[in-house]
């Protein structure tokens, strides 16, 4: 166990691109989705630090070691007429768990959502990930169980784009 008192949360920097790539692949492995993870360091530099960044990220450090990250971006609600923040990833490396690192990351993202006037913070969790689900329940997150996530990718997307309207 390492000391939680030394955990600091800071915005990601360009020279974190490599470690952020590693963290993303570690999360994919944890989610048993490593076959989907093809993100490269170049992708991170282009999409996180270019003229129109597509995401923002925070890094958690325990002492001088990288303990985890949170990554998020805006989404929009046409009903609200306002944007919310979507938390795409939150991840803590196994050796740094149970020390409040995840809570600190989530609180920092919530603070950004609050200060920047987003109407809510949203994310998704895999249904077998009970430690995460329990954690979110404990902090009073609302589970929108009526909503099912759907996607159209690859060949099905191509086929849709070529479909003749009736």
């Amino acid at each position: 166990m390492r000391q939680d008192s030394t955990v600091t949360i800071r915005p990601v920097k360009r020279n974190d691109a490599r470690v952020l790539r590693d963290l993303i692949h570690e999360l994919a492995k944890y989610e048993r989705l490593e076959h989907e993870a093809i993100m490269t360091e170049e992708d991170i530099l282009r999409d996180g630090f270019g003229p129109r960044p597509k995401f923002r990220a925070l890094i958690a450090e325990a002492g001088d070691q990288i303990a985890g990250y949170a990554l998020f971006f805006e989404f929009y609600s046409s009903f609200q007429g306002r944007a919310g923040l979507f938390l795409e990833d939150i991840f803590v490396r196994p050796e740094f768990r149970k020390q409040g690192v995840g809570t600190k990351l989530l609180a920092e993202v919530a603070k950004i959502a609050w200060e920047e006037d987003y109407f809510c913070l949203r994310w998704e969790v895999l249904d077998w990930n009970t430690p995460a689900i329990d954690f979110y329940k404990k902090i009073d997150a609302e589970f929108l169980d009526q909503w099912k996530a759907v996607c159209l990718i690859g060949d099905a997307l191509q086929a849709m784009s070529q479909k003749a309207a009736k």
Partner: protein, 158 residues
Amino acid sequence: MIIRPATREDVPALLSLIRGLAEYEKKPEAVVATKKDLLRDIFGPQPKFRALIAEWKGEPAGYASFFHFYSTYRGRSALFLEDLFVLEKFRNHGIGIGLLKAVATLALDEGCFGLRWEVLDWNRSAIEFYEKLGAKFLHERKVVSFDEQATRGLIKNM
């Protein structure tokens, strides 16, 4: 049928279509957006979403709204389809397919890896429609949210 990007002049019609969708989803009170919000967030200096309007014989019949949505695993964006709605009296003319096709084409043209959206679990007709089109249901994924109050609570308790 004509499908085209929404213009500033469409904003009142778009807002009433959004209200139509909320009624269909059994939560008419959920729409607090105003015309001013939509004007700012579609046409302002920092656009937050885009919308397509479907016209049937010159009348606004439906709409799709969407924005970019990043995937860290892919290192690319998908288009997130926030809303897809056709007014009841214009259904069964292929307008929903027309809108979805237009959004799918934009996704491919813009180098997105896919389209993402969400559907209410009781909305059988929509679910069947998406199944027929080869959409994949991500059954493992649960959607979680913190509203403003919960967000404030979280910050306070940290």
